[in-house]
């Protein structure tokens, strides 16, 4: 416990530049100097341990003079860039110089300048503004795991940079933008776009992956200008991945804004909502109930999935599923598809076994947590899957299910590590859902969990890492299809933002309705397009991979003539004659309460009660096909990221080969 932390608890905020509560202590900025009785010189409160009997004085003339002096030194070599610096208005240096600095400077020599470094298409560097606090260096080494940045030189010639011409390829590289107290590292896509006082912050949830990081969407009028992280100790602490931070410019491109019907010549024609819904209602009545199929996309919220399932059930069909859950999802036992050790609980584990999952690209915040545990407690990580680089030390145990069998039988050297572990943690990737031998793999993993005693009343270490934001809610709501290959024999397909459906499997004469917000792959086969709102424009419930339900908040208006997803389905149901009984958000949420009440308890993690012991024995044969990668390109995973220019630049220059 340092003096600075003790003062924080007491309610006194001490100014600082290099200290950050989640990084190691550096103590090189000296802004936190306070006076301690019986000490000959002022003391750096961020480093000095708080001893009993210390009398700490933060507002005496000595402390004030110290702060003014430090400020003066910092500003000596700092360029007069405030009007052109992006950090103006939210700059720690500006605020602290106003609050703690003196009113005039005494510097009359020439300032030094530093050459800018190229760190990639995401982080803009103006290294002249750097005050050498080394927060970015510590972040990159400790939390991101890449030792890209370092401090070169000494004295006033110190420069932060990558010694060689390297780009910051880490998926957490955007967080240095928040960490840097001055405008040295800023966001390149956001450069010169807006000042922070023009922006209205809306607290919402990220949907690019299943983690559900808490974000704040800063918008100016009808446009999203940037995305910043929001504190949530359980899920993402204070960080967000690069994809979450920079994909917002995809919200402005390729947007669907009018209902469109494909004419006989194959081209789309914009029509009104009345006509579009009338056409869909007509077609859906001409088709047999068993030929109706509904697919919910990766970014669908729980309300719209509830409406879709209700509507299709009313029409007589039960072929509704969500992308990414595989052909025969098991939605009965909740612990079989969520992360039972919550994301914050991963910090207590001491051995990890990653099966068929590359957390670095699938869920960057979960990876950050695993790295935190590995670093803090020297946890051991065993990885089964294709060769990948994780930013912590791991043992590559094998590539296919045979390795799992060996571990289960105890023949593999890693099994002893697992059995001797106090809190073993097994993470299975959701890519396993798509395999045919999914049940066999899960039963082998359960055997491993048994032998390692991973599932106990006080610790459940058997986890599934989901890929999409919509999967957990879909399984909670019961979107399980009747048959796995219903698409081949269908005549009416309702794609609700579903772009990963294999378009070749759709028969030629099927009528495809695409309801989504981006003109991505699904649109090319669609017969009717119904525009809906994206996650930043609607209030939707998303369940993250650990089972915590969270709601997004609308930040910007919907584009063009788009409507909310569930509203479209409700209107369609009325036009088709099978009117759904809810017509407001409260009403649809009370319907959700009857199906899955945990979706209504937002911001609270609902643990799964029953473990896999309820599952019947599976008699499947395990195949020898090695595990594949579920996420090929980290930067382009769903319709919004595929439409984003920044993500395209990133995947061209930064993707790990």
């Amino acid at each position: 416990m340092t003096v600075l932390q003790a003062c924080e608890i007491a309610g006194v905020d001490i100014p600082r530049f290099c200290y950050h509560s989640r990084l190691s202590i550096a103590g090189n900025c000296r802004m936190c100097l306070v006076e301690v009785e019986k000490s000959p010189k002022p003391v750096a409160s961020c480093a000095m341990p708080a001893l009993p009997g210390m009398k700490i004085k933060t507002d005496t003339p000595l402390a004030k003079k110290a702060r003014e002096g430090v400020m003066e030194f910092l500003l000596m070599n700092h360029p007069l860039d405030c009007p052109i610096c992006d950090q103006g208005g939210e700059c720690d240096l500006q605020d602290q110089s106003m609050a703690f600095g003196s009113d005039r400077g005494r510097f009359t020599e020439t300032k030094r300048s530093v050459v800018d470094k190229n760190l990639g298409p995401l982080v803009k560097t103006v290294m002249t503004r750097c005050i050498q606090c080394t927060r970015c260096v510590r972040f990159a080494t400790e939390i991101a795991g890449v030792q890209d940045l370092g401090m070169l030189g000494r004295g006033s010639g110190e420069e932060i940079g990558t010694y060689v011409e390297r780009l910051m390829t880490s998926e957490l590289s955007g967080n240095v933008i928040d960490i840097c107290p001055v405008g040295a590292l800023t966001s390149k896509p956001f450069a010169f776009k807006a000042r922070n006082w023009e922006l209205k912050g809306t607290e919402s949830i990220d949907v690019t992956d299943a983690v559900g990081s808490n974000i704040r969407i800063d918008s100016r009028g009808p446009e999203v200008m940037r995305i910043l992280p929001r504190l949530n100790e359980d899920i993402n602490e204070e960080w967000i991945s690069d994809k979450t931070r920079f994909f917002y410019d995809g919200l402005k491109r390729q947007r669907l804004n009018d209902p469109m019907i494909r004419g006989p010549d194959g081209r789309f024609k914009a029509v009104s909502w009345r006509d579009a819904l009338a056409v869909v209602a007509e077609v859906i009545h001409q088709v047999k109930p068993s030929e109706i199929v509904g697919v919910a996309g990766k970014l669908s919220d729980a309300e719209s999935m509830m409406a879709l399932k209700d509507f299709l059930n009313k029409m007589g069909s039960n072929n509704v599923w969500c992308e990414g859950n595989g052909p025969s999802p098991n939605a009965d036992i909740r612990s079989g598809y969520i992360m039972n050790t919550s994301i914050s609980g991963l910090e207590k584990a001491d051995v990890f076994l990653l099966v068929g999952t590359q957390p670095r690209v699938e869920a960057a915040m979960v990876n950050a947590r695993i790295r935190k545990t590995v670093r803090a407690a020297q946890a051991k990580v065993g990885y089964v899957g294709p060769a990948t680089d994780l930013n912590y030390d791991h043992e590559h145990l094998g590539t296919g299910p045979q390795t799992l069998k060996e571990i289960a039988d105890g023949r593999h050297p890693f099994s002893s590590t697992l059995i001797n572990a106090k809190n073993p943690c097994i993470i299975v990737g959701a890519g396993v859902f798509e395999r045919n031998d999914k049940d066999a793999i899960f039963s082998v993993v359960e055997t491993i969990a048994e032998s390692a005693k991973a599932v106990r009343p006080d610790w459940n270490g058997l986890n599934v890492l989901l890929l999409n934001a919509a999967q957990a809610a879909a399984l909670d709501l019961g979107l399980v299809p009747e048959s796995g290959n219903s698409i081949e024999s269908s005549k009416f397909i309702y794609l609700m933002g579903a772009d990963d459906v294999n378009l070749e499997k759709i028969p030629e004469d099927a009528f495809v309705v695409y309801q989504g917000h981006h003109g991505d792959r699904g649109v090319y086969r669609a017969n009717i397009i119904l525009p809906s709102s994206a996650f930043s424009e609607k209030e939707g419930t998303y369940v993250n991979t650990e089972g915590c339900a969270q709601t997004t908040v609308p930040a910007v208006p919907t584009v063009g003539d788009a409507r909310d997803d569930w509203k479209i389905i409700r209107a369609l149901s009325e036009v088709a004659g099978a009117c759904l009984p809810y017509d407001s958000l409260t009403a649809i949420r009370s319907r959700m309460r009857t199906v899955a009440p945990n979706l209504l308890n937002t911001d609270e993690r609902q643990p799964a009660i029953f473990s896999y012991s309820l599952k019947p024995e599976s008699r499947q044969e395990m195949s020898t096909v090695p595990f594949g990668t579920a996420v090929e390109n980290f930067y382009m995973t769903d319709s919004i990221t595929r439409a984003s220019k920044v993500m395209a630049q990133c995947s061209a220059s930064l993707s790990k080969k």
Binding site: M1, M48, N214, R230, D393
Partner: protein
């Protein structure tokens, strides 16, 4: 007509000899009286459709790009009013919603209960979002030099 009005006036004046105008009792003792949800909204002159709004109550998180927590701890009401569009004349943002800025600029509460009470009195359908506070992990400078376990013998 006039006589009936006079009769009414006389009767009301008889019933309340000490007629007090509202202005002379600025802080009424009925502050202790409980009001049912929605009653204040009913008499406040707010149009009907704005009394049926959905409203979110939240505590804004600290801005991630700065370390200062001076503004943290306040509670605000977010009137979900995103119906904005770009004005064709100048490109400025137009909105038809009178509540577009009220949440940010005017209403600020010290506690969650105050915000909830306000929303209840006006009859809005409110949802409360949980406030997240940072965990304080005790740190020490000596952690930089602590022994971190035996060296990795693999590489």
């Amino acid at each position: 007509m006039a006589s009936s009005l006079l009769r009414l006036a006389r009767r009301s004046r008889q019933a309340y000899p000490s007629f007090l105008t509202p202005l002379s009792r600025p802080f009424a003792s009925d502050a202790l009286v409980e009001t049912k949800p929605g009653e204040i909204g009913m008499v406040s002159g707010i149009p009907e459709e704005h009394l049926r709004r959905r409203v979110l109550i939240y505590s804004p998180a600290r801005t991630a790009s700065q370390q200062g927590s001076g503004k943290v701890g306040k509670w605000k009401i977010n009137f979900v009013s995103t119906q904005k569009w770009e004005n064709p004349l100048m490109g400025w943002t137009s909105t038809g919603d009178p509540y577009a800025h009220v949440g940010d600029s005017a209403l600020c509460f010290d506690s969650e209960e105050a915000a909830i009470e306000f929303a209840q009195r006006h009859g809005w359908d409110y949802r409360v979002k949980k406030r997240h506070t940072p965990l304080l992990k005790p740190k020490a400078y000596a952690d930089n030099f602590r022994w971190k376990g035996p060296p990795d013998t693999k590489n």
